[in-house]
Symmetry: C2
Subunit: 392 residues, 2 copies
């Protein structure tokens, strides 16, 4: 079959707050091939992704993404890899946003192919089994240590055995203030549960500032210290990894291609590589990183802060890697992301999750939610409409 159509939908909450919560809008991609429908979400500023889809060509290395996708063969995983490679080849210079847009489209291609072949994506990737993962609740720090502690208590009581706090005030005032939040989080969840701290790139490239938090992180026995730096500041990661006391580092959500993830492993010396399939170029690239991480003895973890369909998409790449046994679970998404799917990645009686056994991502998109949150976009060049909101 061939890629008959690709449609992009900009979904948005009625009010978008200026907080570190990526679940407030979505660029939803729909692929149709021979009557089969697949869906994927790009972690991408929606109108910018739409422009990347349809912008007029600038030169041979700056084609709109549509030129490399529409009408292409879609019969097996190699066809998806070919489409991705075409995008990289045709849109690599002057169109950085194409890396993000193709992530959502590539996921939709896998979903479409999986549904047409009646197979889950992880099976198409060659995995024999979808292994259980421990989901960790991923939430923002409270404004105060008391709020952070209360959040921790609530989440522990809801059954989670692992929790990650991030963003919010962390790194924005004093070391003592951060320490208070770290200790409050540990106190709230108790000594048994796994605790992770996400600095949200706040220290940019300052190893010194990031290192000042290490003693408290060690004391609170965190499993990892996430994204202290700008995702590109690889050498800062490498330096912090060698600081005492030793705390495991995690990063990678900013990787928009597999090269960057490999550099974070090879030169940044992270112990956990966190990949968002909706950012790294799709499931094929995420799978490459998972295999590389395994070969290096590094644990692979999904990055997901939005919907259940994004969660399933990000689980596929390492579904069969038993030693990578922990998974980010979006805990507080906005109603848009809650309503976007008709079903979920279920948490079983052992408190574990795994990539679904159903075809494609195994998650069904709720068309009513798409209609409810849809934002109308119009892009015209010299009076000619290049993009109009598609019908749903």
């Amino acid at each position: 079959m061939k890629v008959d159509s690709v449609d992009l939908f900009y979904l948005r909450m009625p009010v978008v707050e200026d907080i570190g919560d990526g679940s407030q809008d979505s660029l939803l991609c729909r692929v149709v091939a021979n009557g089969h429908v697949g869906w994927g979400e790009a972690v991408c500023s929606p109108t910018v992704g739409i422009a990347a889809w349809i912008t007029p060509m600038s030169h041979s290395g700056c084609h709109p993404v549509i030129d490399s996708v529409l009408g292409m063969e879609l019969n097996d995983p190699a066809d998806i890899a070919n489409i991705y490679n075409q995008v990289r080849k045709n849109s690599f210079y002057g169109l950085l946003q194409s890396d993000l847009l193709i992530s959502g489209i590539e996921i939709a291609l896998w979903d479409c192919l999986g549904r047409s072949l009646q197979a889950p994506i992880w099976q198409l990737l060659g995995y024999k089994k979808s292994e259980p993962k421990l989901p960790y609740a991923s939430v923002l720090f409270g404004d105060t240590p008391e709020q952070t502690k209360q959040k921790a208590v609530d989440i522990k009581n809801s059954g989670f055995q692992a929790i990650k706090f991030g963003w919010g005030p962390f790194g924005t005032s004093t070391v003592a203030a951060d320490e208070a939040h770290i200790y409050a989080a540990r106190e709230g969840i108790g000594s048994e549960a796994k605790l992770m701290i996400d600095a949200g790139t706040v220290f940019k490239e300052s190893v010194d500032q990031a290192a000042k938090r290490l003693p408290a992180l060690k004391q609170a026995q965190v499993l990892w210290y996430e994204e202290p730096f700008d995702g590109y500041a690889i050498s800062s990661y490498g330096q912090l990894a060698k600081c005492e006391p030793k705390v495991s580092l995690a990063g990678g959500e900013g990787a928009h291609n597999p090269y960057q993830a490999k550099q974070l492993i090879d030169y940044g010396l992270v112990d956990f590589i966190q990949i968002d399939a909706g950012y790294v170029g799709g499931i094929g690239n995420a799978y490459k990183v998972a295999q590389y991480a395994s070969s290096k003895g590094i644990k692979y973890v999904n990055h997901t802060f939005t919907s259940q369909s994004a969660l399933s998409s990000s689980l596929q790449a390492y579904a069969g890697v038993a030693q990578s046994d922990i998974s980010e679970y979006p805990m507080e998404p906005k109603s848009l992301c809650q309503e976007l799917t008709l079903n979920k990645v279920e948490i079983d009686s052992q408190g574990m999750i795994k990539a679904p056994e159903k075809p494609g991502t195994g998650i069904e998109i709720n068309i009513d939610a798409v209609k409810k949150y849809l934002v109308d976009v119009e892009l015209k060049v010299n009076g000619k409409p290049l993009y109009l909101t598609p019908r749903i």
Copy 2:
């Protein structure tokens, strides 16, 4: 003074060909502060850059670029650095295109500041003198070795002492075919002139394929072998740098922040780092890379394939670095880029160029050309126009 307005202009040739020629369109940025006007060009798919400027906020890390620029203080170079840092902080996740857009705006900020202070940008950067550079003619390979040779002869006759051939058929067929082009180029320019070869990222990450061209490159005594790989494939650069016969490597035009350029130096082991101020985040970042390169004994070279204003902008960052003494000179730009400026970076009687002594970039934009090539763009979200083509 404050940034009173920023306007973006999409300029385009009437016909855009599917060739590796980046001079076929332009995203021209105009900054006005207290009546002073500055111009800059972003190497950026124009409608995608426009969307990055004005897209609705997705979350705290995904603001439109406008939020970090408009109304900001602009009195000295530190203010420009502050604006850039705000963009990185507010638009770093989900808005990759912001790195390219801010490049053009940042240049316009420098140009505006320089004109208000009546100083060339290189002086504001702290350089005492604008040092002469040897301009090299940068052209595409011919379709056949005979065409390549004829181009080389013509350019040599026009007075250039250095010439770079790139893109076109290179790397797309056999090793022998590439060797024929390399030897034809050397034959055409004679044994005295400097010759560089640009592979245009054609080998992606294949060290083996790139290495097969080394003997001919050595034989032809090329000064450097440019961009054999995807700009992110740092480890492939590092491996090729250690291959025999030893040929100096060059790369960096794909660096959209200084981190990537540093990695190409530290891990990719390039001998020449090539930076486009309109891609790397602006002149401030380009300057950082130039300083880092000097500290490592690496030569810095501008990357410019478009207009004379882009050339001046890219010269500023290393204007005072005497040991970095070679400069890419756009040789065959389309009429858009030829007509875009009223004056040029002149080639002196010694065949050398340097960053102009006049305020700002020292290059004047031709408003008639802006009007002539202007493309009308309209972006609406929920019926509300976010971007309409500004008046010129």
